[in-house]
């Protein structure tokens, strides 16, 4: 696995008529990572991914995928990437397994189709024409088609949209397995939990730009701080508590007996507060952690709800 980035986007601009879909977007995808491009509908996620797949010529900026220009070097790039479109891509009269077998024939060393069919639970509908498959089955077939050629890099455009929880988990497991086996994954989603669960790196996109990029932990730690609340007897010695806590942490008694600790809330901090309570004979009658989620980060950065 090389150290060069799998995808490098600099200042990408893409317009459709008067509408600017992507507006100066920068993104680097580390080789071997799972990167989630997170944002609301219309943020420019699909246009960005499809530009990487060679479908669109940038109006400005540069895109390099595995070091190649996806438009000029399409023939060299296409055998090396796997693509899952947001929808469609299959002959309406083709049977699920027939289409997958066909895709496999276009590659030099494809995966074993039968094994992949079983792995994705497509065996039961293998002879069903595409147009009669359920939405979830169509999604799983599209995913199978993206990985069957044993690509180095896969682009999954909303891979779990419309899936029930069980099928979603199966897709997550597959993405994890791809990473374990050294495949770089770029996926778009508007599900926070998906990004938090799967991604090494998250790029939050709004109005055609990346507004913030980092690991889910980094993103959740940044911005507004996390909060720990507990209740105990009134008028505890907060100065003594603060001495036990790391610098930068704050503590306050909001109303008699209700305490708030703000700062970098992590398990060690929780343990410190608990042991301080034990030392002082305090039994917290409630103790809650309010962690900053990606959803909060998104709301703060864009002023928008993610699934609006």
């Amino acid at each position: 696995m090389s150290n060069d980035p799998a995808v490098e986007i600099r200042g990408l601009v893409k317009r459709y008529g008067t509408k600017t879909a992507v507006d100066g977007l920068d993104l680097t995808v580390r080789s071997g990572s799972v990167t989630a491009v997170l944002g609301p509908n219309g943020a420019g996620k699909t246009t960005t991914v499809e530009t990487c797949e060679g479908y669109h010529r940038p109006d400005a900026g540069t895109v390099r995928v595995l070091g190649l220009d996806p438009v000029a070097r399409a023939e060299a790039l296409r055998p090396r990437i796997g693509v899952m479109l947001q929808s469609g891509g299959v002959y309406s009269g083709a049977r699920a397994v027939e289409m997958l077998r066909h895709m496999a024939k276009l590659y030099a060393a494809p995966l074993d189709v039968d094994t992949l069919v079983e792995r994705l639970g497509l065996g039961g509908c293998g002879r069903t024409p595409y147009r009669r498959l359920s939405g979830g089955q169509q999604q799983r077939l599209a995913l199978a088609m993206a990985v069957v050629g044993r690509p180095e890099l896969v682009f999954l455009d909303e891979p779990t949209a419309g899936l029930d929880p069980q099928a979603r988990r199966a897709t997550w497991d597959l993405v994890r397995e791809l990473r374990t086996d050294g495949v770089t994954v770029v996926l778009t989603t508007h599900h926070m939990d998906e990004a938090e669960q799967l991604a090494d790196e998250v790029a939050i996109v709004d109005a055609g730009r990346v507004v913030v990029h980092g690991s889910p932990e980094q993103l959740c730690r940044g911005g507004a701080e996390n909060t720990l609340r507990f209740t105990g007897r009134p008028s505890l010695d907060l100065a003594s508590l603060l001495k036990a806590l790391p610098d930068g942490t704050e503590a306050a008694e909001l109303t008699p007996g209700v305490y708030r600790v703000t700062g970098d809330v992590h398990p060690q901090l929780l343990a410190t507060v608990a042991s301080w309570c034990a030392q002082h004979g305090v039994m917290p009658s409630s103790l809650t952690v309010e962690r900053h989620t990606l959803e909060d980060v998104f709301l703060e950065l864009t002023g928008k709800e993610l699934r609006a």
């Binding site: 797949e53 060679g54 479908y55 023939e75 296409r78 055998p79 090396r80 990437i81 693509v83 479109l85 929808s87 469609g88 891509g89 299959v90 002959y91 309406s92 009269g93 083709a94 027939e98 066909h102 895709m103 024939k105 276009l106 590659y107 030099a108 060393a109 995966l111 094994t115 992949l116 792995r119 088609m145 990985v147 050629g149 044993r150 690509p151 180095e152 397995e177 791809l178 374990t180 086996d181 050294g182 495949v183």
Partner: protein, 260 residues
């Protein structure tokens, strides 16, 4: 699946293998589609049988052949079969492939676009061979006695296929799928009536007839009749008309075809 299953081993299959696989798939899709079969097989076979056995249209019988109406009809029906597959069938199928994102998805696979087009053409030719075999058997059973040089027939059919494919792809690549469906069927019907397939062109007034004579279907049915009914050599005028349509249609399709 065990660990390492997905370990990357990227690479395209040899292009000949891709084209072969794509041709097989396209042909299966074509033959599996009921409406397409109606158009490409059932209608030509019915017209051939009906008009050969029932005296609905008086056909010119004087020159050459056994003097049976099937000698006039069979070449026209072969031309119709070519049109139904290369134009109507191809336009409708490709229009829906485009609409369902098939062309887009294949565009991200190792299959080059030219190879996809080659495969579509080969699949049209395979279908035509099956149609022609079936229609020939029916025509022979009806007493058809074909004349002329098979190579001239093959040349005309290839030129006709190129002309109709260009027009079909032009329609599929520029109109919406539903519009293509409607327009391709309408054109099929109009050309069936006005293209010398079952109604001889000399039934039309002279002015109309000279225009109709320039249609690809008229050139193909007239050309095939010249060889198969009258035992003539390759009719260069008809061949030139077909070649002209092929250049125009394929050229316009290459410039205007939208893949998404």
């Amino acid at each position: 699946m065990s660990a390492g299953t997905f370990a990357p081993r990227p690479g395209a299959a040899p292009v000949s293998r891709m084209i072969l696989a794509q041709t097989a798939l396209e042909t299966r899709m074509l033959l599996r589609n009921g409406e397409q079969l109606l158009l490409t097989v059932i209608i030509p076979a019915l017209l051939l049988t009906l008009f050969s056995t029932v005296d609905i249209v008086t056909v010119p019988l004087q020159e050459g052949g056994s003097g049976k109406s099937v000698d006039f009809l069979a070449p026209g029906i072969l031309a119709l079969a070519v049109m139904s597959t290369a134009f109507t069938g191809q336009a409708i199928a490709t229009g829906f492939d485009r609409r369902y994102g098939v062309l887009k998805r294949l565009g991200a696979s190792p299959l080059p676009r030219w190879a996809l087009m080659a495969a579509k053409t080969l699949s049209v030719l395979v279908t035509e061979v099956l149609q022609i075999a079936l229609l020939t058997v029916i025509a022979l059973a009806l007493g058809w006695s074909p004349q002329g040089d098979p190579l001239s027939v093959a040349a005309l059919i290839l030129l006709g296929t190129a002309a109709f494919s260009g027009l079909g792809l032009l329609m599929a690549g520029t109109l919406k799928a539903e519009a293509t469906l409607a327009a391709a069927n309408l054109v099929f019907l109009l050309l069936l009536v006005g293209g010398g397939v079952i109604v001889p062109l000399d039934k039309f007034p002279d002015a109309v007839r000279s225009v109709l004579g320039l249609l690809p279907i008229s050139a193909l049915s007239d050309g095939l009749r010249e060889v198969l009914q009258h035992g003539g050599a390759l009719p260069w005028g008809d061949a030139a008309v077909l070649a002209g349509w092929a250049v125009l249609g394929l050229g316009a399709a290459a410039r205007l075809f939208r893949w998404e």
